[in-house]
């Protein structure tokens, strides 16, 4: 029962952070704060994916059979089956590694755009920037 409550709490807190970051992206006028909120949003999505791959572990942490650094013998099929029963699902983690890289790429590009906007308009407040840009078009 307590386990279930903890689990619901995990999901609810992630959804809460999602709401807050969407609020920040939509309402805050400062471009830098929008970018920070966007990175928080992508991190929350990654966290959700990792949480989907998690499951209740054994009392002892699972230890990889066979030596990790110097290999004298390879682990057998039974050892690996026991390990696979207790280890965490690796596939969401693989997806998250990819997603982190894409998120970083977006962040790098957005920060350069922010730098460029600041050089051009002297401010990062999007209300002022859009007003100035409209003025320029006319």
């Amino acid at each position: 029962m307590i386990k279930d409550i903890v689990w619901i709490y995990y999901y609810a807190s992630l959804i809460l952070i999602t709401f807050m970051s969407i609020y920040g992206i939509a309402v805050r006028p400062n471009l830098l704060k929008k970018i920070i909120m966007l990175s928080i949003l992508s991190d929350t999505a990654n966290m959700l994916a990792v949480l989907l791959g998690y499951h209740i572990l054994s009392p002892k942490p699972p230890v990889y059979p066979g030596g990790t650094f110097s290999t004298t013998q390879f682990p057998s099929q039974e050892q690996l089956s026991t390990f696979a029963k207790y280890a965490v699902d690796p596939i969401p983690q693989v997806l998250v590694v990819t997603a982190i890289v894409i998120g970083l790429a977006v962040l790098v590009f957005l920060s350069f755009v922010a730098v460029l906007i600041y050089r051009r308009y002297g401010t990062l407040d999007m209300r002022v920037v859009s007003k100035k840009a409209r003025h320029e078009v006319k």
Binding site: K60, V63, Y64, G67, T68, F69, S70
Partner: protein, 125 residues
């Protein structure tokens, strides 16, 4: 036998770290200005991060069933602890300096020698 004792020392350090973290967060709440809160943050940094990392290293060294992985965990813990010890005070110092330069007054205060020296023009801003 000796490794049992080392393991229990590690556990004790980790528990001590948890308590220190709790006290530090209470202190962050109860102290009333930025500079005083830095002292509470130091409690959280050294008592709450450095000692538990040492404890984690000792604990993992004492766990036989981890095999060769335990040296790896212990090495990472000790090196991280060393880096916390080196870099945490620099963070506090830089934050305090930036706050003082930004004009945040350390209230309440008895004597502020830095402000006096800046007023005299001895200490360059």
């Amino acid at each position: 036998m000796i490794w049992d004792i080392v393991g229990w020392i590690g556990v004790a350090l980790i528990v001590l770290g948890a308590i220190m973290d709790l006290i530090a967060s209470i202190g962050m709440h109860r102290f009333r200005n930025f500079y005083l809160r830095l002292h509470a943050a130091t409690v959280g940094m050294i008592g709450g991060a450095f000692y538990p990392l040492i404890g984690l290293g000792l604990l993992s060294l004492s766990l036989e069933y981890l095999g060769i992985t335990r040296y790896y965990i212990a090495g990472i813990s000790f090196v991280s602890a060393l880096f916390v010890l080196l870099t945490a005070p620099v963070g506090s110092h830089v934050l305090a300096r930036a706050a003082h330069r930004a004009g945040i007054k350390p209230e309440p205060i008895n004597v502020d020698r830095l402000q006096e020296d800046i007023g005299k023009g001895v200490m360059e801003e």
